[in-house]
Amino acid sequence: MQPNSRKTLVLATLIPIVMFGFGFALVPLYDVFCRVTGLNGKVNTSPLTEAEQRNRNNQQETMSRGVRVQFVTMNNGDMPWEFAPLEHDAVKVQTGEDFTAMFRVTNTTDRFMQGRAVPSVSPSEAAQYFHKVQCFCFDQQDLEAGESLDMPVVFEVDKELPDHIRTITLAYTLFDVTQVANNN
C-alpha cells in the first residue's frame, strides 16, 4: 500500500471516531460548561463531600448576610401527584450556613408510579453560588398507590453571592418517569 494511501486510510478511520466521540461527549461536556458558567440555572446536582463543604466555609471571611430563598413546585405534563413545600414557601437564609427544607409528595393515583424532580434556580447567575449538600432531586421517587413521602433538601448559599442578588427562587418540576424508568 503506497504511503499516502495509508495516510488517508488512517485519517479516514480516525476522523469519524473523533467526531462521534465529540458528539457523544457533548452532554457531560454541556453539564460541566453549565456548572462552570451557571448558564440557564443549572445547579450542581452531585452532592458535596463533607471535606469540600468544610474548606469552603472557613475559606470565606466575607460577612454572612440574609438571603430570601423562595420555593416553587410544579408538575410537568399530566403528573397527577401532589407536590408542595411542607412548611412555608419562602425562608430567610444566612449565606454560608446549611438550611434544610422539607417537601411533601403524594401519589394520588391507584397504581405504582415513579417521579423525578428537576431543580432550577433563578436568577441563573445565582446557580453557581447555590450548593446542594443533599437533595431528593438527586434520585428518583418510587411511590405506591396513595403513598406519600416527606423529602428533605439541604442547601447552602455561598458567601460569595453577589450583593445585588437578594432573592433566589428554587423551582422544582416533578416529572412522571414511570415508563422511562422501565426502559433503562
Binding site: G23, V27, L39, G41, S124, E125, F175, V177, N184
Partner: protein
C-alpha cells in the same frame, strides 16, 4: 480567439453524452450534474413557493378561512425546509458544478462519481420529506428550526422521515463540499494561483469549509432527536436530566454558519456580474477575499443571538451582542466594494445587472434590520415576530434568490448557447421587484406592532398590512412561473449566443464557445 477553435475541435472526437435517460442517471459530467441540480432547485423553489402561497392565502384576512391551524404549521415548516435545503442550497451547488471547473480551467470536478451520488440523494431525501404530507399525523409541524420538546415528545409520527430526510440532505451537502474543495485545491490550471481565482470560486471554497464544519452538527442534532424519540434517551427531555436549550445551542451553532452558506455564493455571483456591466475591475479584490475567508471562522462565535430571550445570564447576552456587532461590520461593509466598482464605471443595465443592483439595495436593507436585531434589549421586542420574518426574507429572497436568478440570466448563454429575450427579462425583473417589496416591506411594520411569527390568524390591527403582503406574495409567486417560461423559451428558441455575449466579461469560462462543449479544458488553458 484561436484557443476557442482548437478547444472546440478537440471536443468533437471525444465521445459525446450517452442518449436518453441513462445520460442523466449515470452522468459523471459536471455540466449535466449542474443542470440536474438547477432543475431540481427550480422544482423545489416552485413547490416551496406554492406552500408560501397557501400561508399567505390563509393570512389574507383575519379568521380561519382556508386551512386548519395544524395544517398551517405543516405549511410553514415545509416551506422553510424546502426553500432552505431544496431551493437555495442545491441551486448554489448546481452553479458550483457548472462554473468552478470552467473558471479554474479544470476538465471536470475532482470526484465525478461522488458528484453524481450527491445529486441523486436529494430527490429521495425530498420525496421522503414531502410524502409525510400524505401520511397519518401529517407532515412535520414544528417549524424549520424544529425546537425540542415540540419536535421530540409532541411531534407527529412522521418526524422520523423528517430526520432521515435531513440526514440525506446533510450527506449530500458534505459530499458536494468535499468535491468543491478537492477540485479547487488540486485541479486548477497551471498559472491560476489561489490569489487569481475569480471571487465566485473563493466564496464557494469558504462555503465548502463552512458546510464541512456545520453540517455534521446538524446531523448530530437530528440523531440525538432520533434517540430521544425512539430509544428513550433524554438529550432534550428535562425529565431524564436533558435540556431543551441544549437543542437550541446545537441547532444555532449549525444555523448561523448555514445562513452564511446561503449568502456567500451570492456575494461571489454579484462580484462577477457587477464588474462585467460596469466595465471596471472589482474594487478591492483582496479585501473581498480576506473578508470572506475570515467569515469561515467568525461565523461560529455568534450563534446565540438567535436565543436572546431563552433566559441566558447577562454575561452571555452581552458577549453575543458584542460579537454579533463586531462581525456584522466586515461582512456588511462589502456592499461598499460593489458600489465603488460601479462608481465611475460605464454602466449598462441588462437583466443580470438589474438583479445584481436589486440584490445590493435590498440585501442592505436586510443587513440594516439585522443590525437592529443585534441590539439585545431591542431584540426582546423583535424576537419571533414578523420583523424577524421580514429581516430574513429580505436577506434571503433578494439575497440568495435574486443572485441565483441573476446567475442564470448571466451564464445561460454559456450553458445552452442561446440568448434569453432581454425585454421579457426586464419584465420579469420589475414584476419580481415590485411583488417582493409589496410582500415583505409591510411585514416590518406588523412585526414591530406586535404580530408574532407562525400564527394562522391575527388580531384586527394587523389586517390591512397582511392583506398587502398576501397580494404581494401572489404577485411575486407568479413572476417566478413567468421566469420558468422565459428560461424554457430561451433554451428551445432563443437566438444563437456568441462565446462571450457580455462586452465586459472576463474569466476562463468565456474563452469556451457557447454552448460550452460536453468536455472542456481537456488540455489546461494557458493563463498569462
Amino acid at each position: 480567439m484561436d484557443a476557442a477553435s482548437d478547444i472546440a475541435h478537440e471536443a468533437q472526437h471525444h465521445h459525446g453524452p450517452a442518449s436518453g435517460l441513462s445520460r442523466w442517471v449515470f452522468t459523471t459530467n459536471h455540466k449535466d450534474i449542474g443542470t440536474l441540480y438547477m432543475w431540481f432547485s427550480f422544482l423545489m423553489f416552485l413547490t416551496g413557493g406554492s406552500m408560501a402561497l397557501v400561508i399567505r392565502a390563509e393570512l389574507f384576512q383575519p379568521g380561519l378561512q382556508l386551512v386548519d391551524p395544524g395544517f398551517f404549521n405543516q405549511m410553514t415548516t415545509m416551506h422553510g425546509l424546502i426553500m432552505v435545503f431544496g431551493a437555495v442550497m442545491p441551486a448554489f451547488v448546481g452553479l458550483a458544478n457548472w462554473l468552478i471547473p470552467m473558471m479554474v480551467g479544470a476538465p471536470d470536478m475532482a470526484l465525478p462519481r461522488m458528484n453524481n451520488l450527491s445529486f441523486w440523494i436529494l430527490p429521495f431525501a425530498f420525496t421522503m420529506l414531502l410524502m409525510t404530507l400524505f401520511m397519518d399525523g401529517g407532515a412535520p409541524n414544528f417549524g424549520w428550526t424544529f425546537y425540542a420538546p415540540l419536535s421530540t415528545q409532541y411531534a407527529p409520527p412522521t418526524v422520523n422521515y423528517f430526520i432521515f430526510g435531513v440526514h440525506l440532505m446533510g450527506i449530500s451537502s458534505i459530499m458536494g463540499a468535499i468535491n468543491v474543495i478537492a477540485t479547487i485545491f488540486n485541479m486548477r490550471a497551471p498559472g491560476m494561483t489561489l490569489m487569481k481565482m475569480p471571487l465566485f470560486v473563493w466564496t464557494w471554497l469558504i462555503t465548502a469549509f463552512l458546510l464541512l464544519a456545520a453540517m455534521p452538527v446538524l446531523a448530530c442534532v437530528v440523531t440525538m432527536m432520533l434517540f430521544d424519540i425512539n430509544f428513550g434517551t433524554s438529550f432534550f427531555n428535562a425529565a431524564g436530566g436533558g435540556d431543551p436549550v441544549l437543542f437550541q445551542h446545537l441547532f444555532w451553532f449549525f444555523g448561523h454558519p448555514e445562513v452564511y452558506i446561503m449568502i456567500l455564493p451570492a456575494f461571489g455571483i454579484v462580484s462577477q456580474i457587477i464588474p462585467t456591466f460596469s466595465r471596471k475591475p472589482l474594487f478591492g479584490y483582496a479585501s473581498m477575499v480576506y473578508a470572506t475567508a475570515s467569515i469561515a471562522l467568525l461565523s461560529f462565535i455568534v450563534w446565540a443571538h438567535h436565543m436572546f430571550t431563552v433566559g441566558m445570564p447577562l454575561a452571555g447576552e452581552l458577549f453575543f451582542m458584542y460579537a454579533t456587532m463586531l462581525i456584522a461590520v466586515p461582512t456588511g461593509v462589502k456592499v461598499f466594494n460593489w458600489i465603488s466598482t460601479m462608481f465611475r464605471g460605464s454602466l449598462t443595465f441588462e437583466t443580470p445587472m438589474l438583479f445584481a443592483i436589486a440584490f445590493i439595495v435590498l440585501f442592505t436593507i436586510g443587513g440594516f434590520s439585522g443590525l437592529m436585531l443585534a441590539i439585545s434589549p431591542a431584540d426582546f421586542q423583535y424576537h419571533d415576530t414578523y420583523f424577524v420574518v421580514a429581516h430574513f426574507h429580505y436577506v434571503l429572497v433578494p439575497g440568495a434568490v435574486f443572485a441565483i436568478i441573476a446567475a442564470v440570466y448571466y451564464w445561460l448563454p454559456k450553458w445552452c448557447g442561446r440568448m434569453y429575450d432581454e425585454r421579457l427579462g426586464k419584465i420579469h425583473f420589475w414584476w419580481s421587484f415590485i411583488g417582493l417589496n409589496l410582500t415583505f416591506f409591510p411585514m416590518h411594520f406588523i412585526g414591530l406592532a406586535g404580530m408574532p411569527r407562525r400564527i394562522p390568524d391575527y388580531a384586527l390591527q394587523f389586517a390591512d398590512f397582511n392583506m398587502l403582503a398576501s397580494i404581494g406574495g401572489f404577485v411575486f409567486g407568479f413572476a417566478q412561473v413567468f421566469f420558468l417560461f422565459i428560461v424554457i423559451r430561451c433554451i428551445t428558441s432563443g437566438e444563437k449566443a456568441a462565446a462571450n455575449p457580455w462586452e465586459g466579461a472576463e474569466g476562463l469560462e468565456w474563452t469556451l464557445p457557447s454552448p460550452a462543449p460536453y468536455h472542456s479544458f481537456g488540455t489546461p488553458p494557458k493563463i498569462d
